[in-house]
């Protein structure tokens, strides 16, 4: 292989010929090898499985590709695994599509694939199918990833009784870390090494609840759209009112500061390693405690409840005795000077 081919992705790497073959072998299979993927057929053939299958798909276009606390690879795996986990499935298999821009450094690609491998191993999942394409320089923003995942539904989930008035809303930790990291990089704010994205698999958080005999009535991971998006989904899906005490929503001081400077509301910033759940109010304290003890739920809290009032809407009770109506984001997240 010429040096150029070793160091930089060329259009030839997407042509299906020698370079493609070497790319798959030396970059992807090197890190992701398993019997299913290694077969290199047109499909991954999986062993027979019992149970209901859950399937999810997501695309990852994050910029910058490398950020404090992770990269597009960790984001892709954890994001996909988390969608399955909060749907009540045990994640098993992933497929990976990579759209790489001509000129992308191979070293960066290897780093990202290593992240994918590591995150997959941590979550007990394997990549069983994959595809790569290369697009002309200027048409790709470096790298886009597309990931699908399948898992097997847990027995008894979703529960028969859906969420309703009286139930508690709990969150597994401080919100907005990931979104704040991305926002900080765009606003040229330098964060301390100790602060980074919350990008992580939430499988242990979900497992901890089920191990304790707590079956949530609702679970989501608050990614794009943030906690606000999930709360609005909850209000819409259940036609109940959702009431949240602003002071109980955990937010890290770093996220507060980034939001104070840019004028963005932390409730709209994405999380990549948190769970929002609805549980019976009698189980709320125990669920929060279980999360805290799990090692992945520092800062877990009960933030509110479902109500009979303001059905279909989310109301935030402020510390000053006021209340505000929380809507979904109406556009992209924009900083303000006004």
């Amino acid at each position: 292989m010429r040096n150029k081919e070793k160091e930089t992705i060329l259009l030839g790497h997407g042509s299906g010929g020698r370079l493609t073959h070497e790319l798959i072998r030396d970059v992807f299979l090197e890190k992701l090898a398993n019997p299913v993927l290694g077969f290199l057929g047109d499909s991954g053939i999986l062993p027979e499985t019992e149970g209901r299958i859950a399937i999810t798909t997501d695309s990852f276009v994050v910029s910058p590709l490398f950020f404090a606390g992770g990269d597009i690879g960790t984001l892709a795996v954890n994001g996909t695994v988390n969608d399955l986990a909060v749907s009540g499935a045990i994640p098993k298999y992933l497929s990976l599509g990579a759209i790489i821009e001509e000129g992308f450094p191979v070293a960066d690609l290897k780093r990202i694939v290593s992240s994918i491998a590591r995150s997959a191993e941590e979550s007990g999942v394997i990549v069983v199918a994959g595809d790569t394409k290369v697009v002309e320089r200027g048409k790709g923003d470096g790298l886009f990833l597309s990931m699908s995942g399948t898992g097997i539904m847990r027995n008894g989930y979703p529960p028969q009784r859906p969420p309703g008035p009286g139930d508690s809303v709990i969150v597994s930790g401080p919100v907005g870390d990931h979104g704040a990291v991305i926002l900080a990089s765009r606003a040229h704010l330098e964060t301390a090494d100790s602060f980074g994205s919350d990008c992580a698999a939430v499988t242990s958080l979900v497992q901890a609840l089920f191990d304790e005999g707590i079956v949530p009535r609702f679970m989501r991971d608050p990614t794009r759209g943030g906690l606000a998006g999930v709360l609005c989904d909850l209000a819409q899906d259940t036609s109940a009112g959702v009431e949240v005490m602003e002071q109980h929503v955990p937010v890290k001081p770093e996220v507060e500061t980034i939001c104070n400077i840019t004028g963005v509301d932390p409730l709209y910033l994405a999380c990549e390693g948190r769970v929002v759940a609805v549980v019976d109010s009698s189980q709320s304290d125990r669920a929060v405690d279980v999360w805290k003890r799990s090692g992945a739920g520092d800062g877990a809290a009960c933030i509110g409840k479902l109500t009979d009032n303001e059905r279909g809407r989310v109301i935030i009770r402020t510390r000053y005795g006021g209340a505000r109506h929380l809507m979904r984001l109406t556009s992209e997240i924009l900083p303000r000077i006004c």
Binding site: T318, G321, G322, R324, H325, M327, L334, R336, C338
Partner: protein
């Protein structure tokens, strides 16, 4: 210092200040006006209107620079992006404001290079990095922001940087409000950060000339309640003066260096305000020595198209001059919502209608 700043966020102090206001019993209802979008955002967010006694009303004046920016200025920015291949460096606030139904976000979707910046200094950085592109900074805002544009203009920015200047001044707007028939304001809550730059001088003259009271207020919950309470006290005592309730940031002579920069970089000119028409000596334009940086001179921007201030049925002009409350606009909450705004008052994070929709419908 951070501990004492936290005291201005203390809910107990806030509640006590609310109770104190409630102990007054004036002979007639009072109407206070603030002229700052950030105050409107805070008043709505803290739910202050619901906590005031029945006899006290706070209305929002034309204090949102996004809302008063005429559609022609936004249209100019859109033209620069689409027809002149310029990089438009804009604050986030302006991105979604429609002018004749076309916003900078729309221009970006149509291929215009519109980039959100956090500071005028960011526009300089872009211009330095992309020497072969023309970069236009969309300079919107009142005095608080104008001084930052001035600092950039005076620091010998790169030649490929120009400014589309849309800065406006608050005191002339107050004069214009006083001339509006049917508007009865008992006192003004003044924008603390504008006065941090300008000082209190021109407002003292305004109050004496119009026999009205004004209080300079900050933006934390306790600041606002202190400002409102102090203003009520002054009105009841019949005082016409300016009181400074934000002395940690506002001095009577303001920020001398910032004012010098504004005077050096800009001339005061007559300026069109969305909803108020042309107000004499209410806007800024680059001084002759810096006119080469003026985007309206550097580029051929079409100004023949007359764009109405408000789309049909929209009452933003009346809302931002305090003549109408958002709820009395037929479009409010129905055809005009934050996810489908018709006018700037619903788009801007400081817009009266937007804040009323989110915060006070709860």
């Amino acid at each position: 210092m951070s501990d004492v700043i936290e005291r201005y966020r203390d809910p107990c102090l806030f509640e006590s200040l609310v109770r104190r206001i409630g102990r007054h019993s004036p002979r007639r209802p009072l109407t206070l006006m603030h002229v700052c979008g950030t105050h409107e955002n805070a008043v709505a967010r803290f739910g202050i209107r619901n906590l005031l006694p029945d006899w006290l009303r706070i209305i929002a004046g034309p204090g949102c620079p996004v809302c008063v920016c005429p559609p022609a200025d936004i249209n100019a920015a859109v033209q620069l992006a689409l027809d002149h291949d310029a990089v438009i460096a804009t604050f986030g606030d302006m991105v979604n404001v429609p002018a004749d139904d076309v916003s900078l976000a729309d221009a970006r979707a149509d291929g215009g290079d519109v980039r959100v910046v956090y500071s005028a200094a960011d526009a300089v950085t872009i211009a330095r990095k992309e020497k072969d592109r023309q970069v236009v900074f969309f300079a919107v805002g009142f005095e608080t922001t104008a001084c930052t544009s001035a600092a950039v203009a005076l620091a010998q920015p790169p030649e490929n940087l120009s400014m589309l200047v849309s800065h406006r001044l608050i005191p002339p707007a107050l004069d214009a409000l006083e001339r509006i028939d049917g508007l009865c304001i008992d006192g003004f809550l003044l924008p603390g950060h504008v006065l941090a730059v300008t000082g209190t001088g021109s407002y003292v003259e305004f109050c004496k000339a119009n026999s009205t009271a004004a209080v300079v207020a900050g933006f934390e919950a306790v600041d606002i309640m202190l400002g409102v309470g102090s203003l009520v006290d002054m009105i009841i005592r019949g005082e016409s003066d300016v009181q400074n309730a934000y002395p940690r940031a506002v001095r009577s002579d303001g920020n001398r260096r910032a004012l010098q920069a504004v005077n050096q970089a800009f001339d005061t000119v007559d300026s069109a305000w969305r909803g108020l028409g042309v107000i004499p000596a209410s806007g800024l334009a680059l001084q002759k020595d810096l006119s080469h940086m003026d985007a309206s001179g550097r580029f051929d921007i079409r100004t023949d198209k007359v764009i109405a201030d408000d789309p049909p049925g929209c009452e933003c002009s009346s809302v931002m001059t305090g003549l109408k409350e958002p709820e009395s606009c037929a479009l409010f909450g129905t055809a005009c919502r934050p996810d489908s705004p018709k006018g700037p008052c619903m788009v801007s994070s400081e817009g009266t209608c937007r804040n009323r929709y989110f915060f006070e419908r709860a």
